[in-house]
């Protein structure tokens, strides 16, 4: 897997650059997942703000900090991780089954025979598209999260949007969203690497493709949570 990652990095700067393929993959990653991701992330944000209001009432009687608190949790953790897990199950599974069926129908061997590097041909456009798409989707997810949290805090908890934003200002700087974007880019980079690794090492038969798909989702999810932990730990020294 590490060698595949290294090959992908070298392939990024090696011609030919396939622009059309990259745009197609970007459409698949970003545009087709947008509705699902916005929907899920909004619900997760609603639950988060309800729970955090409950907690803050318990510990600190001053509940003007609830929106800020929830916004910090959303920006630093929730939006990026939920987005990445959804992408892993959707995009990662798709890529793994695609590359896996190419492997068992010997299309990848055919590519090698024609003198085309399969890593450069298959992995590099997907990798680029996933990194870029995940970065954009993180920003979209964060914004929709904050918006839905604002709506719910007005309707159920009685904070006006003005109060919400004022309370957010105490906790959140611009660097928070930059860190969230970095997180999103890292998660987006993990997904196609894992998927293509399991796709290239797919066993014969339809069962092999199924196993590759399942393995991809599990390994990518675990990797996302571990990377999230490492990045959180790293960024916490920068605040």
């Amino acid at each position: 897997m590490i060698s595949l990652l290294a090959d992908t990095f070298f392939g990024l700067f090696a011609p030919p650059f396939r622009r059309r393929e990259f745009l197609q993959q970007l459409y698949f990653v970003a545009n087709r997942s947008l509705i699902i991701i916005v929907f899920c992330v909004s619900f997760a944000a609603i639950v988060t703000i309800l729970e955090s209001s409950f907690h803050m009432k318990m510990v600190i009687q001053n509940d003007s900090m609830v929106p800020g608190f929830a916004a910090v949790l959303i920006l630093r953790e929730l939006a990026a991780v939920v987005m990445a897990l959804l992408l892993a199950s959707r995009v990662g599974a798709g890529y793994a089954s695609e590359v896996g069926s190419m492997q068992i129908t010997e299309q990848i061997d055919a590519l090698k025979m024609l003198g085309i590097d399969p890593v450069n041909y298959l992995v590099v456009p997907r990798f680029l598209a996933c990194v870029l798409g995940a970065t954009i989707l993180t920003v979209v997810a964060n914004m929709s999260c904050l918006f839905s949290a604002m709506l719910v805090s007005q309707s159920l908890l009685g904070y006006t949007p003005g109060m919400f934003i004022a309370s957010m200002h105490r906790f959140i700087q611009f660097r928070d969203i930059i860190f969230a974007m970095i997180k999103g880019a890292c998660f987006g980079g993990v997904i196609p690497i894992v998927a293509c690794y399991f796709g290239f090492n797919c066993q014969q038969g339809a069962e092999g493709v199924g196993r590759a798909t399942t393995n991809t989702v599990v390994v990518a999810s675990i990797a996302i949570i571990v990377i999230d932990f490492i990045l959180s730990y790293t960024f916490s020294h920068l605040y």
Partner: protein, 259 residues
């Protein structure tokens, strides 16, 4: 618009299927041997994954809360707050996402393969009810095993939070554990467990339905697996909101205060 209709179609099919499973269960209980086999298979398959995920989720929450609590100077509360947040919200959600990728995909692939190789029709030809013989034991087994796994993940999350609270926040183990009972009430743990149970039911329903209604050969099985993971996640998020909302109302009724 067509997308919306597809979503409604899926939802209706899933609910009808759920109704069918429940009625089958009340007609005649599944064989205990089959149920235990399923429980064992699922648990042995995913225990390590779940435990690891739970550990890291606890660690992440601990780091985040330590950063926030340093501003207030209330580091003593770190153990209680991080544990409470993990138990009530983040833990069940993320661990259930993990399980939907592992257990859900595995089960729907198995059932889908049975469907496209006509094994389910063979069971029906032999005069047995496939719902009774194949679906019901899996349904019960997945619910019990997932519930157990989610609980194990939550317990692991406490250990992860403890470790990182010590390493990062400078809260030693004893202090971390001492403040857990002050904030984590039994009701918190109960709500976390209710959430776990709801997620387990959702996972079992969706993956058995998707596997059972597979069409179109080997490609169909692949499609069923991908759509299982995505649908389960969406249903889990909606269920999360639903249980949270109901729990809030329930608590207000019990305690008699207005928030």
């Amino acid at each position: 618009m067509s997308y919306f209709i597809t979503v409604l179609d899926e939802l209706g099919g899933t609910l009808l299927f759920f109704n069918k499973i429940i009625s089958t269960l009340f007609k005649k209980a599944p064989k205990s041997h089959d149920v235990f086999e399923q429980i064992w298979k699922v648990t042995a398959d995913s225990f390590l994954t779940t435990a690891m995920a739970g550990f890291f989720v606890g660690a992440i929450m601990s780091v985040q809360f330590a950063m926030l609590m340093k501003e207030f100077g209330a580091l003593g509360y770190l153990g209680g707050l991080a544990t409470s947040a993990t138990f009530r919200e983040v833990g069940p959600l993320l661990i259930a996402f993990m399980l939907s990728g592992k257990v859900g995909a595995f089960t729907s692939a198995e059932l889908g393969t049975m469907r496209v190789t006509e094994q389910i029709d063979a069971v029906r030809c032999l005069g047995a009810d496939p719902m009774q013989e194949i679906i019901a034991p899996r349904f019960i087994g997945i619910i019990i095993a997932s519930f157990f796994l989610l609980g194990a993940g939550l317990i692991m999350s406490v250990f992860g939070g403890m470790l990182l609270g010590d390493l990062f926040g400078g809260v030693n183990f004893e202090e971390y554990l001492r403040h857990i009972p002050t904030i984590v009430s039994p009701i918190s743990i109960l709500s976390g467990l209710v959430k776990c149970f709801a997620f387990a039911v959702v996972l079992a329903t969706v993956c058995t339905f998707k596997g059972y209604s597979t069409t179109g050969g080997a490609k169909g099985v692949g499609r069923a697996v991908v759509s299982t993971a995505v649908t389960t996640m969406i249903c889990i998020v909606v269920m999360d909101w639903f249980t949270s909302f109901l729990g809030e109302i329930f608590l207000q009724i019990i305690r008699g205060y207005r928030s």
